[in-house]
Symmetry: C2
Subunit: 487 residues, 2 copies
């Protein structure tokens, strides 16, 4: 059956160009066997008329298809499917799916499911008042410069960094930048062999837990705190100690005895955003040394310090090698980047390197190289500076709008940050509130998943201003306040 | 101290353009505090003269720096470091590193290091006769089309797929292509919720082991076989059964009792490249059902079938849900891509999804989208077709050159493949041979790491023709043969 122009339909939701849409229709028809060798394609004129697009678009698509040998042009008589087109014979597939005979409740030996997580709305951009945390704002991310760096990393002479198997290694340009520029700003001195690139901070935290913990070990963490940590610890089988935080973060004297590791966010506590004062940090390190436990520091959002300079990382005070530092580019650039890093003593990094090799080999070299360029050319710092200015404004507007409501700011970073931790009146379950607000165009993040245990507070929520413009903040907060009144 | 033109040096090893090199020198001088607000930059004319480059290159670099607010142009008098340039105050760093007080032999609770791995030469491209396995050949990879797809995935309207946090989700375009195009060619029918994208096949194999195995479970694998599997299994603490393979792959009647999982490469055994015949596959599935074990199928290099069509995957014969299928784009496209996928029953994929979320969240959306375009536009199949033609020629040349030597082809895929598994005379330790050959410009991969146990054969090696041109193969093999004679 020849491919007549009537079988072409443009998909309004197609993400690419018109030209690539036409390429894709033809190539997949050939690959799927719907179009056979020797069959004729509609002329570029006819197809262009049928689709109401320019003829040159069709011609360019056909040229690309010729280059890949899907089609051939015969002298003056048009385009035909090439006799040597890439075609794979399809094996026979049985038409129905069978019912498993495997008893999965027995086959699955470790249950990784069932953790409390924050429910996110994936189509959040369609909401007018998205107080969404940790999603990039297209108005603030410098996509044009990122694109230039990405194109540079796609160049001919970058073939190796794009395509090669790095195995246990990393892109030397990125490691070099982290060692020479990023870490010194956090007060940290590290050699390249003390740094390992990871698939985001999540991967770094997870590896640290895998190396340090098992059923015979105990770990403490902040409560409320990042819910992902509880899942990571649960998977190791270790004993878990949630420690209640106060308005200065985790109180060292509340730490239990017999601890092997502490997971902590000193610079910007998740989710309350408070910063741990210097004397607590010193006390924490003293205790760690005395009681012989290790500290995994998630150095979280320190870039967003627009009210005062960020305090140096806990790791910068560490003289014993007790602090394992977790950094991330995914948070400040964009979460889809999936690039973070671990900094620690060599015996630890050596283990992390071996675990990374066995579990995923390495984060894509191309993402590492693009990031190295973006950092090296100064775009990163320029972008952070812009974001700081915008966030400062948004923070002010948010604080003002909250002032005359039933809501109480339960946590705010003294140095800046990207949102507030908010307490609603006790009668309010913010998970219920979240659903009601979503129907009214407002997105908030319910706070219960940040608390350990079943009987934990339900009236907190995270109100981030990182993805909503200053102009929309007052009306968004008015709607939240209204919904709380009507609760 | 102003930045005078004399402090600019072009680095001949710099990977980017001249323009970006100049941007980088200025931006990092400002970020590092070597250049302060208000200080003057050399004029574009002077700097261009000093470096012997075109003035427009310098001007363009300066414009980019102005856009990021690193520098400002003052009317007619030149460029100055901006008063509001991104600058981060550096905390004081102690000048020396301390000696750890941590006893790492006690702190490390799980030892991930120490596995046998294949040593690779990272600068392999500088060797004239690289019989390297699994590294991309720049002459065969269609980088121009990849670049176009990557640029498309960087477009304005692709902002979400580039930047968003997918959490436990994947790019729907890639999942769709795998379900509708890739799997049907392997005879497999799967719904999107039965597919999970992974950071390469390594990550897929590792997750399967984490879910199915622990200290109370037993797993079998091929011997010789992929060395990474032994490491993955060792980390789970399970009982390990290596099973000797013959010239038809793994013999089902050699499988021990009490097995919970089998890891296998039926389509193209690693490293011998043999294909398992259909009757063995059926017997394997019958046994799996009778004895209630699961099979993890690494469907390895099936694309390189140029002598006859590939046999359908083992998974295509599976009526019980016993086969967990591992596919990869990293092998056929390029290893640095780090994209693979798992296909299995929903209760299994649900666990894998939760484990992936906790251990790394998701593979970068941008790599997923770029791959989806490359596949969807038909470039992938076109490239595979080209590779098949070239590999067929190289295979023939390799076989001819080996015929008159002391070497014996111990394994070759009946359908094609990218290399041979070669047996040298028993007196030869191929790890020693490898070192001698490297001094003579030839790279081979010693075979011992593929065997389980300490007392395993040392006279095998892998001879891949995927990264060496046909013209160079005969001389390369002559040198190997010579080195064996002189051994």
């Amino acid at each position: 059956m020849p491919l007549v122009e009537d079988t072409f339909f443009l998909d309004p939701n197609f993400q690419g160009t018109l030209q690539s849409q036409i390429q894709q229709i033809v190539a997949s028809a050939i690959l799927a066997g719907r179009l056979q060798a020797g069959e004729k394609l509609p002329s570029s004129r006819k197809l262009a008329e049928h689709l109401g697009i320019s003829r040159i678009t069709v011609t360019l698509a056909y040229h690309e298809l010729v280059a890949d040998d899907y089609i051939k042009s015969a002298n003056r008589s048009g385009y035909y499917v090439s006799e040597t087109a890439p075609m794979v014979p399809l094996p026979a597939i049985k038409g129905e799916m069978h019912k498993d005979t495997v008893d999965w409740t027995k086959a699955v030996q470790r249950d990784f499911t069932g953790g409390k997580t924050v429910k996110k709305n994936y189509n959040w951009r369609s909401y007018p008042y998205p107080f969404m945390y940790g999603q990039p704002d297209p108005d603030l991310f410098n996509q044009a410069s990122w694109r230039l760096c990405a194109m540079q990393a796609l160049g001919k002479k970058e073939f190796d960094s794009l395509t090669s198997d790095y195995a246990e290694q990393d892109d030397p340009e990125l490691i070099n930048f982290i060692a020479r520029h990023t870490l010194p700003r956090r007060g940290i001195l590290a050699r390249p062999e003390q740094i390992l690139v990871t698939v985001g901070a999540q991967n770094a935290l997870w590896m640290a837990a895998q190396i340090l913990l098992n059923e015979r070990r105990a770990a403490a963490y902040e409560n409320p705190g990042y819910h992902g940590i509880r899942e990571i610890l649960r998977h190791t089988g270790c004993t878990q100690f949630p420690v209640e935080i106060d308005d200065q973060g985790l109180p060292p004297d509340m730490l239990p005895d017999g601890l092997n590791a502490l997971f902590i966010t000193p610079s910007h506590q998740c989710p309350t955003t408070t910063t741990m004062p210097m004397d607590r940090r010193r006390e924490l390190l003293r205790l760690a040394n005395e009681r012989n436990f290790l500290i995994v520091e998630d150095d979280y959002e320190f870039e967003m310090s627009f009210l005062k300079p960020p305090s140096p990382a806990l790791k910068s005070l560490d003289e014993d090698g007790r602090v394992i530092y977790v950094g991330s580019f995914s948070k400040s650039l964009f979460p889809g980047l999936r690039l973070g890093y671990l900094v620690g003593s060599e015996p630890f990094i050596e283990q992390a390197r071996a675990l990374r090799l066995a579990s995923l080999r390495h984060p894509p070299g191309y993402m590492q190289r693009t990031t190295a360029y973006f950092l090296g050319l100064g775009h990163y710092d320029a972008m952070i500076k812009r974001m700081r200015g915008v966030y400062q404004k948004r923070r002010q507007v948010t604080a003002q709008a909250l002032a005359n409501t039933e809501m109480k700011v339960a946590g705010r970073a003294s140095f800046g940050g990207s949102g507030f931790w908010v307490e609603a009146p006790e009668r309010v379950d913010t998970e219920v509130l979240r659903h009601r607000l979503a129907d009214n165009g407002v997105l908030i993040e319910a706070g219960n998943p940040f608390f350990a245990g079943e009987d934990s507070p339900r009236n907190f929520f995270r109100l981030a201003y990182s993805s909503i413009s200053s102009e929309r903040i007052p009306e968004g907060i008015r709607r939240i306040s209204q919904a709380i009144k009507e609760y």
